[in-house]
């Protein structure tokens, strides 16, 4: 009786015959790491070479083992898996490296008291020399640059979103793929590709011509940024409006609703989550632009809260000037610490924007459920 109930352990199922054991990849990985380390020890050890050699060894051994035991199809599958995972790791490498570098270098700057709350007004090389030579605290902060970045980006968003969204509405709802619509689509595509410095030069030249030579304010920078933002907003909004089912428009028309009301009350609300996250990503795209701001807003060391008058600092230009022209040329370390801190803040801002885009998408998404 017991013999019929006890499961047969030793015999493998006919269905799982000819498979590598589950632990095979881990064994191969361990072996590859050990052998890789041994090979590297012969020529002089370094971590990068170790990773490369081990990865190649791992792929070769696992694929050949699989080919011997499991057959060609499974071996190809393993090879493809190795390639996909390898590519993923390679793609991840720069990202992790950037975040790590900025974190390591930026945290001391960010944690300096007053870093977020003070500007560079009155901070001269004397203080930086003192900080290095006598161990005094590093003075100065990024308040003016943070304020500038937020204001310039906000103004650029206020300019770009209506223009971009209305363009997208024209293209999807009224353009009917006519000559004008196709021309707009073409030029939007062209605009997507223009270098950011050209956008900056355009805005600068435009304001020089209209307002007067040498006009450098936050508003000029906002115009330059919106030149970069508008095509992104148009493109993403257009795609989102296109995927709103035609049936919803027809349902509204059949109720005797006018076209513009249908667009405002049915089409846009249905697409709003995608539009909002597209806009947020467009903001994230331009918030780190340096060149166009450099030629349009200049750079300031003091707080300027008026986007329409006077030079304005921003985080990217702050980083640029701190690295290129340290406050104290003799002791550039405090400047570079501030620059890294500003870079960290910029990355955090972009990350918040991306998280915000996801949140917005979720909040506005059409609700399902019973």
């Amino acid at each position: 009786m017991t013999s019929t109930l006890t499961p047969v352990r030793s015999k493998r199922s006919a269905l799982t015959k000819g498979q590598l054991p589950k632990y095979a990849p881990y064994v191969v990985l361990a072996a590859a790491l050990v052998v890789g380390a041994a090979i590297l020890a012969l020529v002089g050890f370094n971590a990068f070479g170790w990773a490369i050699v081990s990865a190649i060894l791992f792929a070769v051994v696992l694929v050949s083992w699989s080919a011997a035991v499991e057959g060609a199809r499974k071996a190809k599958d393993k090879l493809a898996t190795c390639l996909v995972v390898g590519s993923f790791l390679v793609a991840l490498l720069p990202l992790v490296s950037v975040i790590w570098t900025v974190l390591v270098n930026g945290v001391p700057g960010l944690l300096t008291p007053g870093f977020l709350g003070t500007s560079m007004n009155g901070v001269t090389g004397v203080y930086d020399n003192k900080a290095v030579e006598e161990g005094a605290p590093v003075l100065g902060g990024i308040y003016h640059a943070l304020l500038g970045t937020l204001q310039i980006t906000l103004l650029a968003t206020i300019i770009s979103v209506p223009v971009g969204l209305l363009t997208a509405i024209y293209l999807v709802e009224y353009g009917h793929d006519g000559r004008l619509a196709r021309a707009i689509t073409f030029f939007v595509d062209v605009m997507t590709g223009i270098p950011s410095i050209v956008a900056g030069l355009f805005a600068a030249a435009f304001f020089f011509a209209v307002v007067g030579p040498g006009t450098k304010t936050g508003a000029v920078a906002a115009v330059a940024l919106s030149v970069l933002m508008i095509p992104v907003v148009v493109r993403s909004s257009e795609e989102m409006l296109k995927i709103v089912p035609n049936e919803l428009r027809e349902a509204a028309y059949a109720l005797g609703v006018r076209k513009w009301r249908t667009i405002v009350k049915v089409v846009i609300p249905t697409a709003i989550s995608g539009i909002a996250s597209g806009v947020t990503l467009a903001i994230a795209r331009v918030i780190g632009e340096t060149a166009p701001i450099l030629v349009t807003a200049g750079f300031a060391t003091s707080i300027n809260s008026n986007v329409f008058g006077g030079w304005m600092a921003s985080l990217p230009t702050f980083i640029y000037t701190q690295i290129l022209n340290p406050t104290s040329p003799a002791n550039p370390d405090p400047s570079s610490q501030r620059a890294w801190g500003a870079a960290l803040v910029l990355i955090i801002l972009v990350m918040i924007l991306n998280l915000g885009a996801r949140l917005i998408a979720r909040v506005f998404a059409p609700k399902t459920g019973r």
Binding site: H176, P245, E247, L248, R249, E250, A251, A252, Y253, A254, L255, G256, V257, R258, R261, T262, K265, V266, P269, T270, P366, K367, T368, G369, R370
Partner: protein, 259 residues
């Protein structure tokens, strides 16, 4: 609350292509008229011309007259929006607005047009419309839930409730049951029977049994071949069309000897 429709010599074009040729038909008030015929014969196209919904499609235009109690829908200066507020439409696939609750879906015709309506009036209208669509008992406890959470048949009845909430004269239905199961189909057919007490109903259907069950009058459309225009072959009492049609083509189609 219902008006008759008289169509005279109507041609429908898509660009230069003549899609439906020379239709003359009288649709009685407070009755159900069914359009039957093979796919592509222009039933739906013709139906859409009855409330100018075909104009949504690029290049679509008509020649001829459609009279709603004597007023030409295609007369000079007639606003298609006015036409559509009097002649409602239910589509093949249920299409409740996904961003709106069940209640807001019913009120869509009022709210989207920015008409002011008090909460009390709105409650009355929602209840009356949902009861009119035989949906009230199923959704009365979850009016604030999204309409897209309902089953297909319930969604379609929600769309009918939405259509009757604007109090149209005529309701056009474009294969309203073709995406539904038999039980939901039965519910809609029962509903159509009740609707004809108050409204003029025009229904396009592929299902001849359905036409026989729900309609008072039936119109048979046919097409001579691909690329030829669809034509109205015969129209008459449903009983006559199915039992003793005058045209050979109609008899072949309703008896299943078509093709």
């Amino acid at each position: 609350m219902s008006k008759r429709i008289d169509v005279k010599d109507l041609n429908v074009y898509y660009g230069d292509f003549l899609a439906v040729e020379d239709v003359t038909i009288n649709i009685e008030a407070k009755s159900v008229t069914a359009f039957i015929g093979p796919s592509g014969c222009g039933k739906s196209t013709f139906l859409r011309t009855l409330n100018r919904m075909h104009e949504v499609l690029p290049g679509a235009r008509v020649e001829g007259e459609v009279l709603l109690d004597g007023d030409n829908l295609y007369g000079a200066g007639v606003d298609p929006v006015t036409v559509r507020s009097q002649i409602g439409m239910v589509f093949q696939r249920p299409n409740p607005f996904p961003t709106m609750s069940i209640r807001d879906n019913v009120l869509a015709g009022v709210k989207l047009n920015n008409k002011k309506i008090s909460k009390g009036e709105a409650d009355v209208l929602v209840e009356r419309s949902l009861k009119g669509a035989n949906l009230w008992n199923e959704v009365k406890d979850r009016l604030d839930k999204p309409g897209s959470g309902l089953s297909g048949g319930q969604q379609q009845r929600l769309c009918i409730a939405r259509a009757i909430a604007v109090e149209p004269q005529v309701i056009l239905m474009d294969e309203p049951c073709s995406a539904l199961d038999p039980i939901s189909t039965l519910a809609i057919e029962d509903l159509i029977n009740e609707l004809k007490d108050q409204y003029t109903v025009v229904i396009v259907t592929h299902n001849m049994q359905q036409a026989a069950r729900v309609s008072d009058r039936t119109a048979f459309f046919n097409i001579a071949g691909t690329g030829k225009p669809g034509k109205l072959i015969e129209v008459g009492d449903t009983h006559t069309i199915f039992s003793n049609p005058t045209q050979k083509a109609t008899e072949d189609y309703v008896s299943g000897r078509f093709g």
